[in-house]
């Protein structure tokens, strides 16, 4: 039988303190019912023999020490799941938000999940073609990878993610078991709508699950939302062998929510006021991507974060970069002329090398990518030289590099929002642009590869 406790002992931000509670346990879900007819949820975050501290997900507004009854549910946060969740929309704490009623579940899972055993993981190796040249050629996305997008306010990261979601496919095997889980963490209403309407337009909504926490929703809910989404993803991937693409936006608001709660718990802050466990906490989300040997499914994560003031050394992008398997960085400099504005030199995909090459994409892919990185980084040096001595004073080779840089940005990086280039097209465009440079400058490619590919291009022309 559930015991109701009348009244509270203290309210501190989103935390409430109760005294003399018997039998509560750590991480237990707590229900509050107020005398104005509202029900709110919370969970136990700290307890001792004398007091129990509960964090309220929906905030403590209008709560007083006397107007609330508390009951302990005897369960940790559990998500009811079945395949029915596909096509549904939920709020930040997984309550249906589409008016279609509760989910009939066939399994209940704890939203905190458990750590994957490294011995049971399958190392990700299959290439996902996104149809976007800069990603496919240079920062290849691999099934089971966690590859975040580091963006800034005002950049087109939402458009890019929608394009990736609608164009992604695996070259070999079937693509029908593909689905999308979207976790919106503290986004603007119109951003949430943008995702929804786009998924509807492409028909992908049937294969999507959405968990939406907007800016106006309570901060404490934001901590729960990504965990619900990832639990749903784990269910679909490992119980139903589906390939799940998890999009989480915006990790920055998530981390800020964490900071807000941490400071209301009076914890000792570390860098920029963020709690010392920000790394472990972010890792507990990101590490839930991957594949396991006992299931055919996979979880691929694309978290989006907006770098405060474009600062890549800010704790949020910094710690994220240390956990995720690479990053796709968008930059403001390219924003007006190039879509997607990917800054390729600071972008990286750590799993790329094992997922490309002969039999996977094309034999020249790895060397070609390495050549582009090295040539384009030379372009940056020459550009900074040109800004001092003027373009006219550059040597002839350097002028060719300037031309290469321009062509590369306009023809390779730049593409249409609906343009879906296959990997061969993308690699061929890269070769055509590399032709601008003198052959001696192509030091990362073997003479044989150069000859074969330049020949191919000539034949086409």
């Amino acid at each position: 039988m559930q015991v109701k406790h009348i009244g509270l002992n203290e309210i501190r931000g989103s935390l409430v303190v109760l005294k003399n509670i018997k039998n509560a346990f750590y991480d237990e879900v707590v229900e509050f019912s107020t005398n104005f007819g509202e029900k709110r949820l919370g969970k136990v975050v700290e307890l001792s023999e004398e007091y129990t501290i509960v964090q309220m997900f929906e905030g403590t507004e209008e709560i007083s020490l006397s107007n609330t009854e508390t009951s302990f549910t005897g369960e940790p946060f559990i998500l009811p799941l079945s395949k029915e969740i596909l096509g549904r929309t939920f709020d930040g704490v997984a309550r249906p938000a589409d008016g279609l009623g509760p989910v009939f579940f066939d399994k209940k899972m704890n939203i905190n999940g458990k750590a994957m055993n490294p011995t049971a993981r399958n190392y990700p190796r299959s290439f996902i073609q996104t149809g976007i040249s800069s990603i496919d050629c240079l920062t290849t996305l691999i099934r089971g990878q966690k590859l975040p997008i580091f963006s800034e306010n005002g950049l087109s990261h939402d458009k890019l993610v929608v394009q990736i979601a609608s164009q992604s496919k695996i070259l070999e095997g079937s693509n029908k078991d593909f689905c999308i889980v979207l976790a919106a963490l503290g986004v603007k209403h119109d951003v949430a709508n943008f995702f929804k309407s786009h998924l509807e337009k492409t028909g992908a909504i049937e294969r999507s699950v959405m968990f939406i926490n907007t800016f106006s929703d309570p901060v404490a809910e934001r901590i729960i939302t990504p965990r619900c989404a990832l639990t749903a993803a784990e269910y679909l991937a490992f119980e139903h062998d589906m390939h799940v693409l998890v999009i989480m936006t915006d990790i920055t608001s998530y981390a800020e929510a964490l900071r807000e709660i941490s400071s209301s718990k009076q914890e000792i802050p570390s860098r920029k006021g963020f709690p010392g466990y920000l790394y472990s906490d972010l890792a507990s989300l990101y590490e839930r991507a991957g594949m396991i040997k006992t299931s055919k499914g996979s979880i691929t994560q694309i978290p989006i974060l907006t770098m405060p003031n474009g600062d890549i050394t800010h704790p949020i992008p910094d710690l994220t970069g240390y956990i995720t398997e690479g990053q796709i960085v968008l930059e403001k400099k390219l924003m007006h002329n190039v879509y997607p504005p990917v800054s390729i030199l600071s972008s990286l995909s750590r799993l790329m090398k094992d997922g490309i090459g002969e039999g996977l994409t094309r034999s020249d892919h790895l060397d070609l990518a390495s050549q582009i990185f090295s040539s384009y980084s030379r372009v940056q040096e020459i550009r900074s030289l040109a800004s001092i001595i003027g373009e006219d004073e550059l040597s002839n080779t350097d002028k060719l590099y300037m031309k290469f840089g321009k062509e590369f940005e306009n023809k390779f990086l730049n593409q249409d929002e609906q343009e879906n280039r296959n990997i061969n097209e993308s690699l061929d465009i890269a070769w055509k642009i590399l032709k601008i440079l003198p052959i001696e400058a192509l030091d990362r490619l073997s003479p044989k590869t150069i000859e074969e590919n330049l020949q191919n291009i000539k034949n086409e022309n």
Binding site: A115, P118, Y279, S280, T313, Q327, K353, S374, S395
Partner: protein, 577 residues
């Protein structure tokens, strides 16, 4: 009230009340599920415990049981080739019990206790038994002989000992009567407290290099066996890649790879790759000399703190058998952050950036466990420690990097700009240093080349000169420089692409023996000297460049045989231009 009941829970930190009998650093079992924990503070009325597993679901009043001793790890044959979590539990066995996801409260044996090992006995009854004495051996893997030692805390006389034969870790191999008449059983297995150094006879001078096959390390910034090195670098600069390369190719006998708060997929990759890779010297799988310790970033943070000590303790165990062990700790920053997180929960007064004030002493304790020693049984062995550091924002002035720098003697600084232009390994040649270079000079002149130090000095000079010139070029362009200086830039470029840059994925380039490295360096120096003389005699640099000699020298690293006469002839014929 039962005195050993849970009183408070705050994440991984739990407290119990009125328990003066609990010892500092004692291992305890918490709750009904018997989660492993460790006492980290004892106050008058309160004992504080850190729990190595997820604490959700724990209730006030659940029992806490002391184990009577501090954190221990089982040391026995079967460790090599295995993968453990931060407190030494075998992950493969955990997978068999709990499936793909790790559940808590599991305590499988560290090694397979039933497996029978072929034991060859090397002692007789009646012999004196001193700590570390080797009484027998078994073949743990094709690469490692496990020498069965008398544990460090036992000495006396061997009362009886078994014959050669097959024994498991449960069997008693010998009995020792100690001075005060007590009988101690000796088996294949022994246990050791992870936070305590294993004793040795004395430390030896570090005069042998750990050869890694990585050109920039072996020639420019060498590490001695028994030495300490740090690899700091922001994300994406290739810390893990460098660690993997060292684990694959260095000439240590045993590699302990500690994945401390890093990615799960990386550990899987090491498991897969190392099983497939063949050790060039012995023709055996690399996994046969490797031990993995995995505390991935989503595993409990308290176990992350312990993982480092677990790794070092295993390393010392094999050091005592006379092996050269190299530890790769990736990354020590995550370990320091684990310290910070626990310290925060204890509400200790923070020092820099929230790190506890005892951070430097903890870091030094860890690195001081490295060394080249004569062990208690007279065998020479070493533990080298290579720690990756992940500085926040790639800024080397943060506390973990700075404090690490004080206790290591070899610093391989990874550079973001090199990594951006895909120059790997992205070790910056101006910021990095090795204090071992001088100590090892004898070894190099005896075993590699008597000119080695001169050549190394020349290379460093050229790189330094280039750095100065590059700054000028950035301002005024390259055309205004005289040919001599342009030549320095050209040669520096050859050193960078033809020597320092090394392709880990290229079958021949991934590892290069030191003898070959010195040959290539000599060719580069020859090229430089030759060009310098002919540049003075009216041959212009652009003429030399037209012969493509610079490009060719850059590519000799890919040449498989050791016959460089063609390229040397070509360099010598430059003067006939």
């Amino acid at each position: 009230m039962n005195p050993t009941c849970l009183y408070g829970i705050n994440g991984p930190v739990v407290t119990i009340k009125n328990t003066p009998s609990f010892k500092m650093r004692e291992m305890v079992y918490v709750g009904k599920e018997k989660l492993t924990g460790e006492v980290i503070a004892v106050k008058h009325d309160l004992t504080i415990i850190q729990v190595y597993e997820d604490t959700s679901g724990l209730k006030i009043g659940e029992p806490v049981v002391p184990s009577g001793s501090s954190m221990k790890i089982t040391l026995a044959p079967g460790i090599i080739g295995n993968i453990f979590d931060g407190i030494g539990r075998p992950l493969k066995a955990i997978q068999e019990i709990s499936g793909a996801f790790i559940t808590r409260g599991l305590t499988p044996d560290t090694v397979d206790m039933e497996k029978k090992w072929n034991v060859r006995i090397l002692s007789n009854a009646g012999e004196k038994a001193y700590p570390g004495k080797i009484i027998g051996e078994s073949t743990e893997t094709p690469l490692v002989k496990n020498r069965i030692m008398i544990p460090p805390n036992i000495s006396g006389t061997i009362k009886n000992i078994v014959e050669n034969g097959k024994y498991s870790c449960r069997d008693i191999l010998a009995q020792v009567i100690t001075q005060n008449g007590k009988i101690e059983n000796i088996g294949l297995i022994q246990t050791w407290q992870i936070r305590k150094n294993r004793p040795y006879k004395n430390r030896l001078a570090l005069d042998q290099p750990l050869i890694t096959g990585q050109r920039i390390i072996d020639t420019l910034f060498p590490l001695a066996k028994g030495g300490t090195a740090a690899i700091p670098g922001g994300f994406g600069t290739g810390k893990t890649m460098t660690q993997h390369q060292l684990a694959k190719w260095s000439n240590a006998d045993i590699i302990i790879y500690i994945g401390c708060g890093e990615r799960g997929n990386e550990m899987t990759q090491v498991l897969e790759d190392f099983s497939k890779l063949i050790d060039p010297k012995s023709g055996e799988s690399l996994m046969n000399r490797t031990v993995l310790i995995a505390n991935t970033s989503n595993m409990p943070v308290a176990a992350r703190e312990a993982s480092i000590y677990t790794g070092v303790t295993i390393a010392e165990y094999y050091r005592d058998m006379g092996y050269h062990v190299a530890i790769m700790a990736d990354s020590t920053s995550r370990w320091a952050e684990a310290l910070r997180e626990i310290s925060g929960r204890l509400e200790e007064m923070p020092a820099e950036e929230g790190f506890p004030a005892y951070l430097p002493s903890k870091i030094s304790e860890f690195y001081e466990r490295a060394g080249y020693v004569k062990s208690l049984n007279g065998l020479d062995g070493s533990v080298s420690i290579i720690g990756a550091v992940s500085p926040q924002g790639g800024d080397f002035s943060e506390p973990v990097t700075q404090n690490t720098k004080r206790f290591i003697r070899c610093f391989w600084a990874l550079d973001k700009n090199l990594a951006y232009s895909r120059h790997y390994p992205a070790i910056n040649w101006t910021d990095s240093y090795s204090e071992y270079a001088d100590i090892l000079s004898n070894w190099y002149s005896l075993n590699v080349d008597k000119d080695f130090l001169n050549i190394r000095k020349n290379i460093i000079n050229i790189l330094n000169e280039e750095k100065g010139l590059a700054d000028i070029v950035k301002l005024v362009g390259i055309d205004v420089l005289p040919d001599e200086q342009k030549l320095v830039l050209e040669i520096a470029q050859v050193i960078k692409t033809g020597f320092l840059q090394q392709n880990a994925y290229h079958s021949h380039d991934s590892f290069m023996p030191i003898t070959k490295q010195i040959k290539i360096l000599k060719i580069i120096i020859l090229l430089y000297e030759k060009c310098k003389t002919i540049c003075c005699c009216s041959v212009s640099l652009s003429q030399i460049k037209e012969t493509k000699i610079f490009n060719e020298v850059c590519k000799i690293k890919y040449q498989e045989d050791l016959d460089y006469s063609a390229i040397i002839n070509k360099i010598n014929s430059l003067e006939f231009l």
